[in-house]
Symmetry: C2
Subunit: 209 residues, 2 copies
DNA sequence: AATAAAATGTGAAAAAAATCACAAAAAATA
DNA sequence: TATTTTTTGTGATTTTTTTCACATTTTATT
């Protein structure tokens, strides 16, 4: 099934393959990909089977072909632009990161309501939130990142949706409500840290110190 | 079962409950929590059932009791300190964030190999990586965050493990290898964005025009 | 006090995901 | 060319997770 975790695995396979390709690998086996992605080889083959990706019995898979196949399935034939709403700690960290390019992702602008954040001349320009609609429509942006304080998240989201954005990565703890056809991925750093605490505490109790 | 997604849900319930408490709510029903966490009410009750949390038939749950129960299960009776390794874009964003306190989380120091990052006098001090062991041992730190470049991730991880750290949040795309008893949570922002692209593209093709 | 209404708690059922296991194909070897 | 070895591809099986559905309990109402 084309569920989230399956797609996340495909992305991991693709990243592992890109590294193998950089090392001039030509062939790869499901076992290798399994190790790289932290799953079983049967899982790798099953995932490929679901998406109709085939290899060569006894010969494994051609690295180049596999990357092409996965890139096509994952819609990464071309580059995609994201905007960031909320140019604070997280927003800035994302805008300054130079590693997205190699994944075909570009952060093309930031938006904020704090005038001290505006910087239309920067490498990644920062504009007033009121300019978002115009910018998104003109540049046909379809993806955005929400990095505003929690209380402003739903409002920022609605501005984005109304401008035509179809997919967002939400860093706030808020659970956004919007149209069915908008994809929302949530990252909650607090709960990530809290879950680590939980599992370490459990290991302490059971695994015996 | 006490698996990751179940624990993540409990954390979401707890966060929703803290907000309800702030609004002076006394009672809450599984339906309310379901809405807040984006799951079904049966899921909420099943989760509680697994952990032996009970409410009052017809009367729902007492907000205060529930928070206490969940906090106990989730091991959040006291505060926990994290260190950050790699004080770059992401590392700094985390160290400057002032919202962790309310979850009982404190980022107590940062470590880097770049001398220009050292800042022992800062609100959250930044030290040379070589000081990590001493600091972690002395302060009995058990949790850390990895925000170094990918190539340095495994090395940084090993320094942390050897100092006694038991749980890490890893922002690099690297798949860390270490002892069984160390908890590793991975956040891969690239694949998060890429998966959004995938699902929006799929929705485009199937869902409509 | 009897009846009705509302919400929990949980086994049973269903759905989803992962693993197994092995025939089929391809390559290597004899 | 025949045999052996290796790895894929996938139906069947198992495991895990979620949902269903309803008896049970509690509160409210008459
Ligand atoms: N920084 C972290 O490490 C961290 C950790 C956990 C969660 N978060 C969450 O991520 C989000 C962002 O955190 P942060 O630390 O970057 O916050 P921040 O306060 O540093 O930045 C928020 C930015 O959003 C801007 N803003 C406020 N309202 C806005 C609006 N309506 N439209 C556009 N911009 C607006 C502010 O001017 C500010 O620049 C928060 O919801 C926070 O809860 C952050
Ligand atoms: N910033 C983002 O938005 C973003 C997005 C996706 C992924 N990531 C990943 O997160 C990680 C951090 O990204 P960033 O943008 O913060 O990087 P960065 O380059 O801004 O910061 C990395 C820091 O780590 C330090 N460092 C290098 N080697 C070290 C070592 N061995 N020990 C201790 N410190 C060391 C560097 O001096 C630097 O200060 C990277 O692995 C990156 O792939 C970041």
């Amino acid at each position: 099934m084309r569920n989230r975790s399956c797609v996340m695995r495909l992305l991991r396979y693709k990243n592992a393959l890109l590294k193998l390709k950089a090392l001039n690998f030509v062939r790869v086996f499901s076992d290798n990909l399994a190790d790289a992605a932290g799953v079983t080889s049967a899982q790798v083959r099953k995932d490929f089977s679901i998406f109709g990706i085939t290899g060569n019995r006894r010969g494994g898979y051609q690295v180049g072909d596999l990357i092409e196949n996965l890139s096509h399935i994952l819609g990464k034939d071309k580059d995609y632009e994201f905007i960031v709403v909320g140019v604070g700690n997280i927003g800035k960290a994302l805008m300054r990161y130079d590693g997205f390019e190699k994944s075909g992702i570009k952060i093309s602008a930031g938006f904020d309501i704090d005038p001290t954040k505006y910087d239309p001349g920067a490498a990644v320009a920062v504009y007033d939130l009121s300019k978002l609609n115009e910018y998104v429509v003109k540049n046909k942006i379809r993806f955005g990142i929400i990095a505003v304080p929690e209380f402003a998240a739903q409002q920022a989201f609605e501005v984005m949706i109304n401008s035509g954005i179809k997919g967002v990565l939400n860093f706030t703890p808020a659970r956004l409500k919007g149209p069915e056809d908008c994809i929302i991925n949530n990252i909650n750093l607090e709960t990530e840290l809290e879950s680590i605490i939980y599992f370490v505490n459990v290991a302490d109790k059971t695994g015996g110190k």
